[in-house]
């Protein structure tokens, strides 16, 4: 790490003179490709609301961790996130109500339960920092953890992507080719839960879903095949992450929210390109 600090601080940019900014920059460079990748499928599968619920459930994850006396609640957050994700995917198949209703029910429970436990004895304000997150507090150790998650996720992604894609287009067609749809979907849910829970502390419960959804949503406006979709999403995610972080440094604003605003700007830009193209071909 010390080598990276000394190399980067040699650049004539003020924000690179602070260790916490360098940490944050590296964290953004690690997190955004992970989210941009997972997001492509979350958007394909219309899971934007699902991943939102996953982010919100972080409160209950923290609460459970504190109840069972964990020093660092990240383990209970990941465990609860996976559990909730799998339960929602399971209940979805019962078809007792539309998917968004079911997600809403579970989302409400997991937010409320977390707040109830954490606010007991008036201690909630301690945890309110999770709402908007703070990427400037990220430590080198956590970055390494994220890097490992990124590597494993890409490996799994490499293995299951085609099958996930086929399921997202038509699950019967996928089943006919011997694909175990529920198993593959569950792997995706687990990847999503782990990534969200590991990074929610820095990005914030309220803004984490935008990291996942906005880059692929923007990429969809301008991509016409899987390759473009992936690489545009990746580039947009990275670009907005780094740009947003730098802007937040000079504007002295929350990094997470500034990154989201940058992504939103790019989203509308691509929407405009999409509309112009359509009028030209029509």
């Amino acid at each position: 790490m010390e080598i990276i600090y000394s190399i980067l601080s040699a650049f004539p940019f003020e924000f690179l003179h602070y260790k916490f900014m360098i940490n944050a920059l590296i964290a953004v460079i690690v997190i955004t490709p992970l989210f941009a990748m997972l997001g492509t499928m979350a958007v394909n599968n219309k899971m934007a609301f699902f991943s939102d619920a996953l982010g919100h459930s972080a409160f209950t994850g923290i609460a459970i961790g504190i109840l069972i006396g964990l020093k660092n609640p990240v383990l209970s957050m990941v465990a609860f996130g996976i559990l909730l994700g799998l339960i929602i995917s399971r209940v979805k198949y019962f078809k007792t109500a539309s998917t968004d209703t079911i997600i809403s029910v579970f989302s409400s429970i997991s937010v409320a339960l977390g707040i109830v436990i954490l606010s007991k004895n008036g201690g909630f304000s301690k945890y309110s920092s999770y709402l908007i997150g703070d990427i400037l507090i990220v430590t080198p150790k956590e970055i390494v953890l994220m890097l490992i998650t990124l590597a494993i996720s890409y490996l799994v992604w490499f293995k299951i992507y085609n099958r996930l894609l086929l399921i997202s287009i038509n699950s019967s067609l996928a089943a006919s080719r011997g694909i175990n749809c529920i198993f593959i979907e569950n792997i995706f849910v687990i990847l999503l839960a782990v990534s969200v829970m590991l990074s929610v502390k820095w990005i914030g419960i309220l803004t984490i879903n935008s990291f996942l959804i906005l880059p692929p949503a923007a990429a969809r406006n301008i991509a016409s095949n899987s390759k473009q979709y992936h690489f545009y999403s990746l580039i947009i995610g990275l670009f907005c992450g780094v740009t947003g972080l730098i802007i937040s440094f000079y504007a002295d604003t929350s990094a997470g929210a500034t990154i989201v605003l940058t992504s939103s700007f790019v989203y509308f830009l691509t929407l405009l390109i999409n509309q112009i193209r359509k009028t030209n071909t029509a």
Partner: protein, 249 residues
């Protein structure tokens, strides 16, 4: 090597599909109530029945998408059980989000091999897909967006995918809805030529009784269970048929 083994396989490694005591339930509703039937290789079997008779559910049980009780067994000529049969499936209508950024070649390759389609395509793979599209005179579809092609074009793509690798059992679920008469004819002639060339078992669900009369070798009429089966003429003249469809002929 792989060509050899697949040729062997297609020269009717499969003899028949036996479906025994099949039940499918949805909570307390019985959707399929004790179906027993066999599908034979080299035959095009048509499954018919009124709406809600369980035709699509039966197909979903065969492809293992619906859980069921009973047996669906794929058997070879020497009566051995084929554990992992190759099934080709052309779905009723491919309902998907048309705004999904996916090209026809992405779609075809994602079903064919495990190399992620967001990476560059190998020459072998792309040539193979192009060749197959060419055989059905739709090479121009290769780079087109899947959401932007017509229903007939999509059916061609789905048929190519269902036949690659050549399946033991080909399942067609109302495969050509919304295609004109000429397109219909081309489609079924292709199916018949595949049946004769590779001797595979084909099962067709269709509402088009004329098509069935013209192309099917056998018909099975179901209404939660099998209520008539045999030659197409026999089933069409049966009492059960008249009860199901009224006196339309």
């Amino acid at each position: 090597m792989s060509t050899n083994s697949s040729t062997y396989h297609n020269n009717c490694g499969l003899c028949r599909v036996d479906i025994q005591n099949l039940y499918v339930k949805n909570h307390n509703d019985i959707i399929i109530n004790n179906i027993n039937l066999s599908l034979h290789c080299g035959e095009l079997t048509a499954i018919i029945g009124r709406n809600g008779a369980g035709k699509t559910t039966l197909l979903k049980a065969i492809i293992n998408e619906r859980s069921y009780s009973g047996n669906i067994v794929f058997k070879s000529h020497d009566d051995k059980i084929i554990k992992k049969p190759v099934i080709g499936y052309v779905p009723q209508q491919l309902i998907f989000d048309k705004s999904t950024p996916i090209s026809v070649s992405n779609f075809m390759l994602s079903a064919k091999n495990s190399r992620p389609v967001w990476l560059s395509t190998t020459k072998n793979n792309s040539n193979d897909i192009k060749q197959k599209l060419k055989e059905l005179e739709c090479e121009y579809l290769y780079d087109r967006s899947l959401g932007n092609i017509s229903g007939g074009e999509l059916q061609k793509v789905l048929l190519i995918m269902a036949l690659d690798p050549m399946p033991d059992l080909l399942i067609l679920d109302e495969p050509v809805s919304g295609v004109d008469a000429v397109g219909l004819d081309i489609f079924y002639k292709k199916i018949i030529s595949i049946r004769d060339k590779y001797h595979i078992a084909i099962v067709l669900v269709s509402h088009d009784l004329n098509i069935i009369k013209q192309y099917a070798d056998r018909a099975i009429l179901i209404d939660k269970t099998v209520i008539a089966q045999g030659s197409v003429d026999y089933v069409f003249s049966s009492k059960a048929f008249k009860n199901s469809f009224g006196l339309i002929e």
